[in-house]
C-alpha cells in the first residue's frame, strides 16, 4: 500500500530504455521567507511530485492554467532551477562510452558532465522581446551556445549559423543585425535557431507562440513541426492554449497546482478525458465554432494556491464529482488504460465528456 501522498512511479516495462527523458517524482518547492532574518515560513509547491516520460521524436504537450507549475517543471528539467527532489533520467549520446545512448540522472551529475548534457537539451522561450539580448547581434545570439561549449568563432562556425538561420527562414544578411530590427515572429525564429545550434535531442518549448499573432503563430508551429521531422527532435511543448497543444502534441499532460492530473495520447485525452479537471477545462475553452453546443461545466471559484493547496485531491473544491474521499486522500497517479494515466479516486466510475 503506498503511503499517502506517494505517487506510484510509471509502470516499468521493456520500453523504458527507449524513453529519451523520464521524470520521476520531481519536486520543486520555493521557500517563502519572511522577517528580518528571512526565516522560511512555508513553501510554494510549484512542482509537487510529477512523473512522465518523453519518447524519441515525439512531442509531449504540457498544459494547465496559471500556477500549475508547467513552466517551473520545464525549467527544473533543464536544471535552471535546482530540484527539491526526484529524478530526471535522460538518454545521453554525449556521455555514453560506446557511442550508443547512456542513461544518466541529471540530478546526480558532476558540473562538467551536466554542462555537456546541456548540448542535448535546449529551450525556446516565450517572450520575443526579452528572450534575446538586445546588445548582441543575431550572429552572437545564435552562436553563443557554441561559444560556451568551446567552439571558436571561425568561418566553419559561421557557416553552421548561416545554415541554421536559413533553415528557420531568415537570411545570412541578418547576421549583423540587432533584435530590435525584427518582428515578434522573426525573433522567435532567432530563438529557435539558437536552441538548435548544438544539435540537441530534446527541446523544451516554454509557451513559444503565446505572444504571437494568430497568423504568425501558425507559421511558427509549422516551422517547429518541420524542424522536428528534419532533426528527429523531441519536444516538451508547454502552453496554456489547449487547441495549440492538441495540434502539435502526440501526447498531452494536464497539470493542476503542481501535480499531473492526467496524461494520454492527444486524441484520447481530448475525446475521452478521465479526469474531471480535464473535462471541465475542455468544456470551458471557447470553441471557434458558433454551432458547437454542449452542456457547459462551469468551474466555480479560483485556481488553488500552490503555497496553500487544499487537502487530499487539490481539485476537490471545484470538482462537481467530489466525494468525501477526495477531501482526505491524495489520489494515486495510475495507468487506467494503456498509456493513459490519471490521478483521480473516481476515475473508473465517472463517465466524462470530451470534445
Amino acid at each position: 500500500m503506498p503511503a499517502e501522498g506517494q505517487v506510484q512511479p510509471a509502470q516499468a516495462n521493456a520500453k523504458n530504455n527507449n524513453y529519451l527523458l523520464e521524470v520521476k517524482g520531481l519536486k520543486k518547492y520555493f521557500p517563502i521567507q519572511k522577517g528580518l532574518l528571512r526565516r522560511t515560513v512555508g513553501y510554494v509547491k510549484a512542482v509537487d511530485d510529477i512523473s512522465f516520460f518523453v519518447r524519441e521524436g515525439e512531442t509531449l504537450g504540457l498544459v494547465g492554467e496559471s500556477g500549475c507549475g508547467k513552466s517551473t517543471a520545464g525549467r527544473t528539467i533543464i536544471h535552471l532551477y535546482e530540484p527539491t527532489a526526484g529524478e530526471v533520467l535522460f538518454n545521453s549520446r554525449i556521455l555514453s562510452s560506446d557511442g550508443t545512448r547512456q542513461r544518466v540522472n541529471l540530478l546526480d551529475l558532476p558540473p562538467n558532465q551536466l554542462k555537456a548534457i546541456r548540448r542535448e537539451i535546449s529551450m525556446v522561450f516565450q517572450d520575443p522581446i526579452n528572450s534575446l539580448n538586445p546588445r548582441m547581434t543575431v550572429s552572437d545570439i545564435v552562436a553563443e551556445p557554441m561559444i560556451i561549449h568551446g567552439f571558436s568563432m571561425d568561418s566553419e562556425t559561421e557557416a553552421v549559423i548561416i545554415r541554421l538561420l536559413e533553415r528557420v527562414g531568415l537570411r545570412s544578411d541578418h547576421l549583423r543585425r540587432y533584435p530590435h530590427e525584427f518582428s515578434g515572429g522573426q525573433r522567435q525564429r532567432i530563438g529557435i535557431a539558437r536552441a538548435l545550434s548544438l544539435n540537441p535531442s530534446l527541446v523544451i518549448c516554454d509557451e513559444p507562440v503565446s505572444a504571437l499573432d494568430v497568423s504568425i503563430q501558425a507559421q511558427t508551429l509549422n516551422l517547429l513541426q518541420d524542424l522536428q521531422k528534419d532533426f528527429n527532435l523531441s519536444y516538451i511543448f508547454i502552453a496554456h492554449d489547449l487547441s495549440v497543444v492538441e495540434h502539435i502534441s502526440d501526447r498531452v499532460a494536464v497539470m493542476y497546482v503542481g501535480k499531473v492530473a492526467e496524461i494520454a495520447d492527444a486524441e484520447d485525452l481530448y475525446s475521452s478525458p478521465l479526469h474531471p479537471y480535464t473535462e471541465a477545462l475542455l468544456s470551458a475553452v471557447p470553441k471557434a465554432d458558433p454551432l458547437y453546443k454542449s452542456d457547459r461545466i462551469v468551474m466555480q471559484g479560483e485556481v488553488a494556491d500552490p503555497s496553500n493547496p487544499p487537502s487530499g485531491c487539490y481539485f476537490h473544491p471545484r470538482c462537481q464529482y467530489a466525494k468525501d474521499i477526495c477531501k482526505l486522500k491524495t489520489p494515486e497517479f495510475r495507468e487506467l488504460k494503456p498509456d493513459h494515466f490519471v490521478a483521480c479516486h473516481r476515475a473508473e466510475e465517472l463517465k466524462l465528456e470530451g470534445i
Partner: protein, 380 residues
Amino acid sequence: MAKAEKNETAATAKQTQISQSYWSLVWWKFKRNRVAVIGGIILLVFYFSFVFIPEILSPYALENSSDYTEAGPTRIHFIDQDGKFHLRPFIYGVEKKIDFTTRKRIFIEDTTKVYPIQFMVHGDAYKLLGLIPMDIHLYGVDQKTNPDARVLILGADALGRDWFTRIMYGGRLSLMIGLIGQFLTLFFGTTMGVVSGYYGGWVDMVIQRTTEFLGAFPDIPLFMALAAAIPSFWSPLAVYFMLTLILSFVRWGGLARQVRGMILSLREREYVLAAKSAGANDNRLMFRHLLPGTMSHVVVIATLSIPGMILAETALSWLGLGLRPPLTSWGVLLQDAATVRAIHNTPWELWTVPFIIVTILAYNMLGDGLRDALDPYGSR
C-alpha cells in the same frame, strides 16, 4: 514552407534601414542634443588643455615667483600712447610703489617700457608629458630680452606667481582626481553590484550591510577622518593617490546599490535564462549579459557623480586635509584665495571659481544629454 518565409524576408529587406547597434543609436541621439554636445566639447577642451598641455598654455612655470607680489592683472593694450593701433598686443613695464593710505603694493605702468606680447615664445623649460624637453609657451613676453617683464592676465599671488598658470596646473590635478576616482568607483562599484545582485543570499547581505554602514557616515567628516589619517611624511604624490582612493572608496556604495537594483530585475530576463540553460558559467552571465545591460545607466550615474568628486577634493584641499603644496589643485588655490587678506589684497585669485563652476556645469550638461540619449528606442 520556403515560400512563406521568403516573402516575409523580402518584405524585411524593403523596410529596414542600416543596421544599427545600440551604442550607435545612442550616439546619433546624443549628437542632436546641442547642450550636451557643448558640455562635451567644453570638457574635452578643459581636459586636453589642463591635463596634457598646461605647460604650453601657461606663460610661466608653476613655481616661478617674481617681484610682482600681489600684482593685479596686467593690462593688455593694443593702442599705444600716440594713438597708434598695433596688431600685436603689448604691455607696459611697471614700477613698484607702496600706497601708504591703502597699505597696498601698487604697480604703476611705465609707458616708456613697451613689451610686445609674443606667441610661441621661449620661456621656462619643462618636459611635455614628462618626457619631451621643450620651452615653448603659447604666449608671453620674451624672457631673454626682458627678464623683468611679466604678463599676468589673472594677476599674481603673494609670492608673485602667475595666477593663470596656477589655475592651469591646478586644473590638472583637480580634473584628474575626479576622473580617476570615478573610474575606480565605477570598477569597484559595478563589480560589487553585479556580484551582490547576481548571487543574492549572504554575499548580497554582507555587501549591502557594508555599503549601508559606509553610507551612514556623513561625507565630509568621513573624508576628513580618512584624509587626516594619511601620514604627513608621505610624498605629495603618494598623498594624491591615497586621496583618490579614499574618494572612490567612500562613493562606491551608492553605485553598487544602484547596479544591484538593476541586476535584480535583469537577472530574470529570458535571455539570461537562455544563456544559463546553454551552460554559461556565472562569470559569463554576470559580465557578458547582466553588466552590459546596466552600462547605459551606469555611464550616466558615473558622469553625473564626477562633479561631486571634484568638489569633494576641492573641499578637502581647501580645508588643508587634501592636497598640500607643492602640489596644486583648485582646492589648494582656494585655500590661498579665500582668506580675508587675500580677498582684500588679491581678489583676482577668485578667478579659480568660474573654472570650477564651468567644469561642473559641463559635466551636468553632458550627463543629462547622455541620460536622454540612453533610450534610443523611444518608448521602450
